[in-house]
Amino acid sequence: MESTGLRVAGVTKRYGALVALDRVDATFSPGEVHAVLGENGAGKSTLMGVMSGFVVPNEGQVLLDGEPVPVGKAFECKRMGIEMIHQHFTLVPEFTAAENLALARLPGLSKSARVGSLADPALQIAERLGWQVDPNERVRTMPVGVQQRLEILKALSGNARVLVFDEPTAVLAPDEVDDLFRVLRRLRDDGKVVVLIAHKLSEVMAVADRVTVLRRGKVVATAVIGDTSPSQLASWMVGEMPIPGAKPEAVEVREGLRADGLVVAGDRGETAVRGVNLRVGRGEIVGIGGVDGNGQVELAEALVGVRRSRGPSVVQFEERPVQEAKVAYIPQDRQVAGLAVGMSVEDNLLVTGHRKPELSSGPLMVVGRVHAWARSLIDRFGIKVSGPAEAVSSLSGGNQQKVVVSRALDTQPDLLVAVNPTRGLDIKATEYVHEKIREARAAGAAVALFTTDLDELYALSDRTLFMSRGELVEDQGAVSLVGGPG
């Protein structure tokens, strides 16, 4: 039977008012490495979830060789031959390679089956692919690259026809990436449907035959790799470079933030920021664009003093250490670093507020003043809650972000550092946040706005810079986006 591949037909997925996927159509053919490219939050993960039966779409369906794939039944999808290679491995660290491979084949087999015989088919595949896998080695002691091979072998040991790789290079060293690409091509030549979820342009250019670009849940473009270019892909990913329009009302720009020689380590010890110099004056918004993962978060944290710079560097505000200025911070991800989701709205406001001298007397916080202050913030910023004691987890995303924004802008800051302040918000909530940022600038704050959203970048910024591989570069249009990490 001639395989026609995997077709996603008119798939829409809504979470509340947020449209994660908006009538997405895509065809993934055998004999092709087909990349799905997009920023974080563009809908890649949701699409992958729909293809593999983990996510039930509101509309549309997925067809494999013309046959509808059962909706929301991950196990059925696996049986039909749709296999996922997750970014977070699904291996048992204490088991050996053979045991892990056998585990993937266990369901439906008799109890008497031996580990050796179960693992054999996968080990033969490994040999064909030119991989050295010691069946008796424990997964715990294996390098990440080898663990990923096991994950791929697990997928191949069934009757895999479609292989979906979720950002497989994120955990790999450069030479491991080359080998992975070799295998992707090999699988393609064997007639498999190979889907590569990615956000790094260079990798898509290197290995994909075809690319589908997602932005805000919509398919922006599908193209053969040969007919496109990195800058073309970049602008599909993040939106058209708008023609610079009239700049907003000129506010007098005075000296503000001065950061020199910042070299900042990321969480895994890698050098995430490589020698950045940045000036942000009072009364201006400096927008810093770029693809995710180029050191933006680390730089932002260094500016607000949460992360230290290695080696000699200066972070000053008006010639004094930045710690002495009033710094407001809107962190990258409200669910992870912005909110304590187990606490009340008031407690979350207190994250900054508990340091306000007027709310306490001595070491004690004065309950009456705290309540009054929380209520006033809720009113001033229009946060929709029943009261300050309501759990922050019961708020909508927009209102949650209002909690983060309101406590940052409670008093007029000298410096505002915001990282993707509108990610995941609907249009109304986005406009609201933009308005608040403009207000802060008008009142004389220096604003450093890190955003991967080009529309946002150009709508708000007085000056734009881009971050690429840990360095700040001048805005040269779409070219600035090319050459993400790795």
Binding site: V304, Y329, S360, S393, G398
Partner: protein, 346 residues
């Protein structure tokens, strides 16, 4: 689930657990409940017994509340309790005959302070190992419990043994150093009031001070705390110090208020029992007063029950375990919050 329904369900559940346990032990339910109630509240002696059992449970329970609220799962209350008592006994041994014996209340306070410091130091070890070396607190505190037990057994057979060197016990404290008693016929001592005061103090600290807020925030989400210049490491250490101090103080109150001397059976698992007390109290210092009283009364009452029936105090451990499991289940049910709405019009 609202707070009121939750409280109601908890109370009904506790009674139910008690009844079911009695049934499982094949005891006549009504008569047994009566014996328990009489033993715990029947007369002033019963009340005294209840208060005496409640006090160490309350203090260790409060210790657990502080640590767990900060995300430090201190299982080492037992060790901190023992080291607390040991520290006091060491002070007594080295200073008795000297200035301490005549110091009166000042001597009592000094003893209690040293006990609290001893417990804090023991807990600090686990905190330090976590912050500097990433050793899980659950593991290190459990192991430190064993070390504390051995330390106790060594001390009462060695350096801290009574002057006559016959029994594995320390010398008893002179009467002047023991906490004041309200009634010569009963054991109940002023440490009971101290424990209640400490409960209020812990409440004030956790919910009304900046330091307490930071501690709770670190326990809820250390990443948020870090983003806003609150050092999670320092906060974790602080929580362990306070927690250990409270458990050490529990040991001190037991020593200076009740036993007056240490033997190898000094702690009757008070440090471990503090965990179910804290959990049942919802990690809230004032509710922990209630849960400690509940278990304290059970202890006092089941001693009475044991006098008239075949049931031993094992019964309480069964009831404790069943109550905590039930309570944890209830919490899990209540915590099935609706998934966070990704977006709605703001």
């Amino acid at each position: 689930m609202s707070r009121a329904t939750r409280a109601t369900v908890t109370v009904i559940g506790l009674v139910l657990v008690l009844v079911l346990t009695l049934l499982a032990f094949r005891l006549p339910v009504f008569d047994s409940l009566k014996l328990i109630a009489e033993g715990a509240f029947g007369d002033k002696f019963g009340l005294s017994r209840t208060a005496i059992k409640t006090t160490p449970l309350l203090l260790t329970g409060l210790g657990m509340v502080v640590a767990w609220r900060a995300g430090m799962y201190n299982i080492g209350g037992e060790g901190q309790f023992i080291v607390g008592g040991l520290s006091g006994a060491w002070l007594a041994k080295s200073l008795i005959g000297g200035p301490l014996a005549t110091a009166g209340p000042a001597g009592q306070i000094l003893l209690l302070v040293v006990c609290a410091l001893g417990g804090a130091a023991w807990a600090w070890l686990a905190g330090w190992l976590f912050v500097k070396r990433g050793v899980e607190v659950v593991i290190s505190t459990i192991l430190l419990n064993f070390i504390a037990l051995q330390l106790l057994s060594w001390a009462v057979n060695g350096p801290l043994q009574e002057a006559k060197r016959q029994l594995p016990l320390t010398d008893p404290l002179p009467e002047a150093l023991m906490l004041a008693k309200f009634d010569r016929q009963m054991d109940v001592h002023s440490g009971v009031l101290l424990a209640l005061l400490v409960a209020v103090g812990v409440y004030v600290y956790l919910f009304l001070t900046k330091g307490g807020f930071q501690l709770r925030l670190v326990g809820e989400n250390p990443k948020v705390a870090r983003s806003y210049h609150i050092n999670p490491d320092r906060t974790h250490l602080r929580a362990m110090l306070i927690s250990g101090a409270l458990c050490g103080l529990a040991g001190g109150v037991e020593y200076v208020g009740l036993s007056g001397q240490l033997g190898s059976g000094f702690s009757q698992q008070w440090g471990f029992l503090g965990i179910p007390v804290a959990l049942l109290g919802g990690l809230h210092p004032l509710l922990v007063v209630l849960s400690a009283t509940y278990f304290g009364a059970l202890f006092a009452g089941s001693e009475n029950l044991a006098r008239f029936t075949t049931a031993g105090t094992t019964l309480i451990y069964v009831i404790q375990a069943a109550a905590v499991l039930g309570f944890v289940g209830l919490n899990a049910l209540a915590d099935r919050r609706p998934a966070i709405k990704p977006e709605a019009t703001g």
